[in-house]
């Protein structure tokens, strides 16, 4: 399985943690975790990625939209998304549904 498929599969099992509040402020997305009492700022592509994730888009659409908007290849996007998701999971900002 290639990177793109890995990410697609993982994204399909990921939702935003219910204790996370978020709002877009211009180009940024600001997050606040009610449990950990931490603020986060997502900028640019990460903000857009979060936005698409929060809207419940299927991975195929997220991937397609991101590649359209940011002119990255499928493999480049997959690598970036994987890194971002790892960080989001580490901060408990998203839930992984097995």
């Amino acid at each position: 399985m290639n990177k793109k498929n890995d990410v697609q599969q993982s994204l399909n099992r990921i939702t935003i943690h219910p204790d996370v509040l978020y709002k877009r402020l211009g180009e940024e997305m600001v997050l606040f975790h009610l449990t950990t009492d931490r603020f986060y700022e997502l900028n640019g592509t990460a903000a857009r990625f979060w936005e698409l994730l929060s809207e419940g888009h299927p991975m195929s659409e997220v991937s397609e939209q991101m590649m359209t908007e940011f002119s990255v290849t499928a493999d480049e996007f997959a690598g970036q998304a994987e890194d971002l998701l790892r960080s989001l999971r580490k901060e408990n900002l998203v839930d992984v549904h097995e």
């Binding site: 600001v30 009492d37 986060y40 900028n43 640019g44 998304a81 890194d83 960080s87």
Partner: protein, 249 residues
């Protein structure tokens, strides 16, 4: 109906309601929003406050009270009060200039503890309009917000609000305010602060926020998505230095 929920401010935005609030503000320098905090949000905030810790604070030449050491109650309120819909409503009612952010704190006063407040106008730090939200679990006596016209000495008393109610009041060079001493045994807890012209909310947070998730992919030649931490103080409201900075507001 204007109410703050976890999703932000929800408003029916009925013209008649806004006109009444505008008339209240014009005549008495304040208006009240009953049940401004949605019940589930109020429950969350009060339970977090119960788990929190207060420390003594002295407001130079004004008074002293207790301030909540940072926890999620404050963070959630700060996040949610910085809401464009709320800013728009406040501007429509008060006629104040463009609002950049809301900044505040959770404080507590306890009868018999020597907590006090004196007349002041809060006209610093580009503050435009004041706001206080009652977070007390019990009804308290005294602790009334008073507004005084400096020239005439006329005092307007704002009767105590119910839990979750908000009172928004005018800040002006010609108007001062204070909280009267508590009576009885019940303590008062409130979230109080100011709508400010500057900075914007993101800038306010950046002055305090410890964790910043940056995406270097925004730079054209950088494709790696990583987080960068400004420092290891991952919670801006739990460090002494950060709280000290809050004290200056």
């Amino acid at each position: 109906m204007i109410q703050l929920t976890r999703r932000g401010v929800e408003s029916s935005n009925r013209v008649a309601v806004l006109e009444q609030l505008r008339a209240d503000f014009e005549a008495r320098h304040y208006f009240r929003i009953p049940n401004f905090l949605a019940p589930e949000l109020l429950d969350f905030v009060q339970s977090e406050i119960d788990r929190g810790e207060f420390y003594g604070r002295v407001h130079q030449n004004i008074g002293n009270d207790l301030c909540l050491r940072g926890n999620a109650a404050f963070g959630a309120l700060l996040f949610l009060f910085n809401d464009e819909t709320l800013f728009r409503i406040v501007r429509e009612i008060t006629g104040c200039p463009q609002i950049g952010c809301f900044d505040g704190r959770i404080y507590r006063v306890i009868p018999g503890e020597g907590h006090s407040d004196s007349w002041h106008d809060d006209r610093i730090d580009q503050r435009l309009v004041g706001m206080t939200v009652n977070l007390s679990k019990q009804e308290y006596a005294g602790g009334i917000l008073q507004l005084r016209d400096v020239a005439s000495g006329k005092i307007e008393e704002v009767s105590n609000a119910g839990s979750g109610d908000a009172v928004i009041f005018r800040l002006s060079d010609t108007l001062e305010h204070r909280i009267t001493a508590l009576e009885g045994k019940a303590q008062k807890t409130a979230f109080a602060g100011w709508f400010r012209a500057e900075p914007d909310f993101l800038s306010l947070l950046k002055r305090r926020t410890a964790v910043v998730l940056k995406n270097p992919a925004d730079a054209p030649r950088e494709r790696t998505v990583t987080f960068e931490k400004d420092n290891d103080e991952t919670n801006f409201v739990t460090t002494a230095s950060r709280e000290s900075s809050l004290d200056t507001y």
